[in-house]
């Protein structure tokens, strides 16, 4: 993953894993928000996102028919870190269904996917169209992953290193129109859940947020 990148996309076994910063090396949590539209409902792991507003593992994208199996791979990633399933060690895996047919998979596809994520190396070309865009707003970077099925947008992931609170990320997700938009700020890496009684977070001003929303909308 290049230093200018906020996330890396690993492609394996007809799935994609979006890894924020160096997820395999540094545990941590980031603030997250999402918006769903048009009846989108193929999403697992959303309970913790709604309650705690944080994400601590990769976002996994897969054909909807494979959603359970891919969720299970995400769970194994989290189990490898902590079997108690704390919310700062990759549990629960945020797993998103893409509306494409699920191709036949080899028997060991879960292991292959797991290994690819842990190695952070793709082992095949993408199953569905996607593109990564980058942008800048003042001192802050934006990186956007757009997934499409045919001509239709499917899922958008917007990441920024601007330090933002979950409510601000909701407003960032609001600028998009895809069936599912996920906004993540890596500008505050939150400590382990039980590390300290308190921690500090930085928050961008409304003025900066307005600039960031404009930059994201203009992508």
């Amino acid at each position: 993953m290049g230093k200018s990148e906020l996330f890396q996309v690993v492609e394996s076994q007809h799935c994609q894993a979006v890894l924020f910063e160096d997820w395999n090396a540094i545990p941590g949590r980031f603030f997250v928000a999402n918006r769903s539209r048009h009846g989108f409902n193929a999403l697992l792991g959303n309970g913790v996102v709604n309650e705690f507003r944080t994400i601590s593992g990769p976002i996994l994208l897969a054909p909807s028919a494979m959603l359970g199996g891919v969720y299970d791979v995400g769970l194994r990633l989290a189990d490898a870190r902590d079997l108690e399933a704390p919310i700062d060690q990759g549990w629960p895996p945020m797993t998103v269904g893409i509306d494409v047919a699920a191709p036949e998979q080899p028997d060991d596809w879960k292991e292959r996917l797991l290994n690819a994520i842990q190695r952070q190396e793709s082992d095949r070309s993408p199953t569905w169209a996607h593109q990564t865009l980058t942008g800048q707003s003042g001192d802050y970077r934006l990186q956007v992953l757009e997934c499409r099925v045919g001509e239709k947008p499917s899922v958008t992931i917007i990441a920024t290193d601007a330090p933002m609170l979950p409510q601000q990320l909701e407003r960032l997700a609001d600028i998009d129109t895809a069936p599912l938009t996920i906004a993540v700020s890596v500008g505050n890496r939150l400590p382990r859940v039980a590390a300290d009684k308190f921690h500090q977070v930085d928050v961008i001003s409304e003025e900066q947020l307005t600039s960031l929303l404009s930059a994201a909308a203009a992508r």
Binding site: P163, A194, H199, S205, E207
Partner: protein
């Protein structure tokens, strides 16, 4: 035997112990807070005042308007209403606080909900009043906002409906009443019952109104408080539960006039001095519903049930919020939030019970009469269920 609160306190814990052992509770004269009569809600420890004002900086003031008797003449009365003002801190229009909200049933008004959900900030005093007075109170609070090139803050006004007792259509709350309540606000003990915005309210078909309670949280060498103030105007008598005891169902067996079914609402204001972020305060706000439910409410279809939770542990300068680079906030770690969630549930439950215990009988428009919760019978029922005792908290 009968005793008032002063005599009760002189007796100390002895009557309570006697009650717990075998004797029927003595007849209660006057109105008293639940804990003073041996009703101990939950397992956590209240703050010194057992009030929202246990959160440092929080001040509460009431303007109570009680005028006239007899038949309703819209615009003339009788009047049984008012306004309750809460200062989260005195400089709130220039130093914002993070806040969160919840609405278990949204048939009502709490202005500022949208700002709270989108921006996560509170930048106004909070006022509670009756349904028809929201506009006037809103404008009065708007006048407190600074006028410059930054956006003005959003006044926070909540309402519940008091037309059973009050000439609510007559709109008897004016800017001067708001200003008086704001000016009268103070720390320390908070008046409860039929005062301020709670003057004409009905709760579980008994006289309701304003109630407050708090919990102290000691952890890691630090002490924080969670304080709650409610304007209680909700609930069906048969559903009322106090500390788990079906008091309402048992009182309903007695021959008392029905007042009206559940049509109304409750406003729940939660304050803490622990440093929370807005999304964490949403979580606190959601726990208020647990305390409400413990008293028997199901947040009926017609209810306007709203919770606003704010933290004085983070202050955000207005200029920094709108302009400049970044500002910094402190956050309690998720792992440590649990006792605060429990504190909200307990304090809301006790605040509602305090509103009932502190309210007296009231007659309003057209001679409509709403009885106070009968404390002697209530304590007898609590006693019969083995739920009366503990140490009185003076």
């Amino acid at each position: 035997m009968s005793f008032d609160r002063r005599q009760f306190m002189q007796l100390g814990a002895l009557p309570l112990l006697a009650v717990q052992a075998s004797a029927e509770p003595a007849r209660v004269e006057g109105r008293h807070r639940a804990r003073d009569l041996g009703v101990t809600i939950g397992r956590m420890t209240p703050g010194k005042m057992n009030a929202i004002t246990d959160v440092p900086g929080v001040e509460v003031g009431h303007t109570t308007i009680i005028e006239g008797h007899g038949d309703l003449e819209v615009g003339k009365g009788p009047v049984r209403t008012g306004v309750t003002a809460i200062w989260p801190h005195r400089n709130i229009v220039d130093e914002f606080l993070p806040c969160g909200v919840d609405a278990p049933n949204g048939n009502g008004e709490l202005s500022g909900m949208l700002q709270a959900s989108k921006l996560g900030i509170l930048n106004s005093p909070v006022c509670l009043t009756n349904t028809s007075s929201v506009g006037m109170v809103y404008d009065a609070l708007q006048s407190l906002q600074p006028v410059d090139d930054l956006p003005a803050g959003t006044p926070v006004v909540g309402e519940t409906w008091d037309a059973e007792l009050n000439d609510t259509i007559g709109r008897h709350v004016h800017a001067a009443h708001v200003q008086k309540a704001l000016a009268a606000a103070h720390g320390g003990p908070v008046s409860e019952g039929a005062v301020g915005g709670g003057t004409g309210m009905i709760c579980y078909e008994y006289k309701g109104g304003i109630g407050t309670a708090s919990r102290r949280i000691d952890a890691a060498g630090m002490t924080h408080h969670v304080g709650v103030l409610v304007q209680a105007n909700h609930g069906s008598r048969e559903l009322l539960r106090i500390d788990g005891v079906p008091v309402g169902a048992e009182l309903s067996k007695q021959d008392r006039p029905k007042v009206r079914p559940e049509l109304n609402s409750i406003l729940m204001i939660v304050a803490t001095d622990a440093p929370f972020l807005p999304h964490q305060l949403d979580r606190l706000a959601r726990r208020a519903t647990h305390g409400l439910a413990r008293t028997g409410s199901i947040s009926g279809n017609a209810s306007g049930d709203f919770t606003l939770a704010f933290s004085t542990g983070n202050r955000i300068p207005r200029e920094a919020f709108y302009r400049g680079t970044t500002y910094r906030m402190q956050s309690i770690e998720q792992f440590n939030i649990h006792p605060y969630l429990e504190a909200v549930s307990e304090a809301v439950e006790e605040a509602i019970i305090n509103a009932l215990f502190m309210s007296k009988d009231m007659t309003g428009i057209n001679g409509n009469f709403v009885p106070a919760l009968p404390l002697t019978e209530t304590l007898q029922i609590m006693h019969s269920h083995g739920r009366l005792g503990g140490v009185a908290n003076g």
